[in-house]
């Protein structure tokens, strides 16, 4: 489902003496449907960078990243947007939303973008928010005012609203209490069970061993680190 071959990435900092920083070189691996793979490595090894490359958020300089057959390294923006809408979900560490929009609509939005009717999308959103223990009295408020943990749960609800065939999870269990951590892990298990290919970053080792089938040490592909 997710196929990386010979993927490399450099940053060129034009405004800092045109410094060229090689961050990832020559990564190849694949994730099959129903499989969950953890990216590991020391802080700064490039786990989040690699994940952002897979999402198309960072530009990839060399190699191929195929998701459901589409090579996002060489795709038009509109194809990547369509891929993100239909196929590829991403739960980042930060919630980025339009201020003022109620939490319920924030969570329902990925479904609305797919053309799901408003009431149906909101039903699904309500179910997820309930499952993640966001009190109903908060649903009509914008999540921008919520605590870090609440924002993270809203972010997860939003990420799981649509049943994406491929998912990227960046620290989904960070800053969650034990109960909510269990809920997130069960959401991941469910996604795996329905055949989603998942790549995740988990600092929480117990969580990682609980849901992940394999680990890939990104440090191996980091030129600066290998030395």
């Amino acid at each position: 489902m997710i196929d990386l071959s010979n993927v490399s990435k450099t940053f060129t900092l034009h405004n800092q003496g045109s410094a060229v920083i090689e961050v990832i070189s020559n990564v190849s691996f694949a994730v099959a449907p129903g499989e969950c793979v953890a990216l590991t490595g020391a802080s700064g090894a490039g786990k989040s960078t690699l994940m952002r490359m897979i999402y198309g958020n960072y530009l990839t300089q060399a190699g191929e990243i195929r998701i459901g057959g589409l090579d996002i390294v060489r795709s038009e923006p509109r194809d990547i947007i369509k891929l993100r809408r239909d196929v590829l979900g991403y739960v980042s560490q930060f919630l980025r939303v339009v201020p003022r929009v109620p939490t319920l609509d924030v969570v329902a939005e990925p479904l609305r973008a797919l053309g799901v009717p408003a009431d149906e999308a909101q039903d699904r959103a309500s179910a997820l928010l309930t499952q993640l223990n966001i009190p109903e009295r908060l649903w009509s408020l914008s999540p921008t005012t919520f605590s870090g943990g609440e924002q993270q749960r809203v972010n997860i609800a939003r990420g799981f609203a649509h049943t994406y065939p491929a998912m990227l999870l960046d620290e989904p269990t960070a800053s969650l209490d034990a109960a909510n951590r269990e809920v997130v892990l069960s959401l991941i298990e469910d996604a795996k069970a329905r055949g989603a290919a998942i790549i995740g970053i988990f600092h929480d080792e117990a969580a990682r061993t609980h849901v992940c089938d394999r680990e890939i040490d990104v440090g191996r592909f980091t030129p600066g680190m290998a030395a």
């Binding site: 405004n15 198309g56 958020n57 923006p77 947007i81 980025r96 339009v98 201020p99 003022r100």
Partner: protein
């Protein structure tokens, strides 16, 4: 799929000075594209060339018309182009008073485009105008009030209603949130996002506000000195800018 708008080699000079040079891109149905750059980078010139307000010195602006398929709007006759401007195209000005008739009631402002395309039933026109006021969150009781009695944010929302009432397929926006305070901006952005999604609109938004394009635009053009220096997915350009100028632009934004 046929692009809704295909811009090819648009160049506009002001004497020896370059307004914009050799700009090309395709915009597909449902896409929202942002054009960013500092003041004087040529983004407004480009927008006005595309919308038919300025005649470019070179290039084509091919629009996929409902009846005849793709047509170059620069070489089409003025009546045809103005007809597009009242039906399939919309233009949202930065200053609402440039896009509204300040001496005409809110209902009359919204109804004008309907009457311009031949609607002649007062009751129907008024119903549609009232419905649109609701969609842009203006109370129906204000339908007979003039925009001079409205706040800046309401005027801007009224301008949007006036533009969208005929169900256009392409909306040009010039700094739509400029000059509004931040809380009003947020409300407007939310509204625009909903309308774009629900009506399947394509839009081109010129702004210098990177937060606006992050929330509204699928794609981004970064302009400098009249030329496009970078183009791509909005979040990719903002998070991993490639060109020196884009990097400078992104790193110059104050973090809140």
């Amino acid at each position: 799929m046929t692009p809704l708008l295909s811009v090819q080699g648009i160049t506009k000079r002001y004497g020896a000075h370059i307004g914009c040079a050799d700009v090309s891109f395709d915009l597909y149905p449902g896409e929202v594209m942002g054009i960013v750059g500092e003041s004087g980078s040529g983004k407004s010139t480009l927008l006005n060339c595309m919308a038919g307000h300025l005649t470019p010195d070179a290039g084509q602006v091919v629009f996929d018309t409902r009846t005849d398929g793709p047509r170059d709007t620069i070489t089409m006759s003025e009546p045809e182009r103005r007809m597009l401007g009242r039906t399939d195209w919309a233009f949202v000005h930065q200053h609402a008073r440039d896009g509204l008739r300040m001496g005409v009631s809110a209902g009359g402002n919204v109804g004008e485009r309907l009457m311009a395309v031949g609607e002649r039933n007062y009751g129907d026109i008024r119903d549609k105008a009232t419905d649109w006021l609701g969609r842009v969150e203006i109370d129906a009781s204000r339908v007979d009030d003039r925009p001079t009695t409205f706040s800046g944010g309401m005027q801007q929302r009224l301008q949007i209603a006036r533009n969208l009432v005929t169900g256009p397929r392409l909306v040009f926006m010039d700094e739509p949130t400029g000059g509004l305070d931040v809380s009003v901006q947020a409300r407007l952005l939310d509204l625009l996002r909903g309308l774009v999604r629900d009506m399947g609109l394509s839009a081109i938004i010129v702004t210098h506000d990177l937060a606006v394009v992050r929330l509204l635009a699928d794609r981004l053009l970064v302009m400098k000195s009249g030329r496009v220096v970078e183009a791509g997915l909005t979040d990719q350009v903002l998070d991993d800018p490639q060109h020196a100028y884009s990097q400078l632009l992104v790193s110059s934004v104050l973090q809140v």
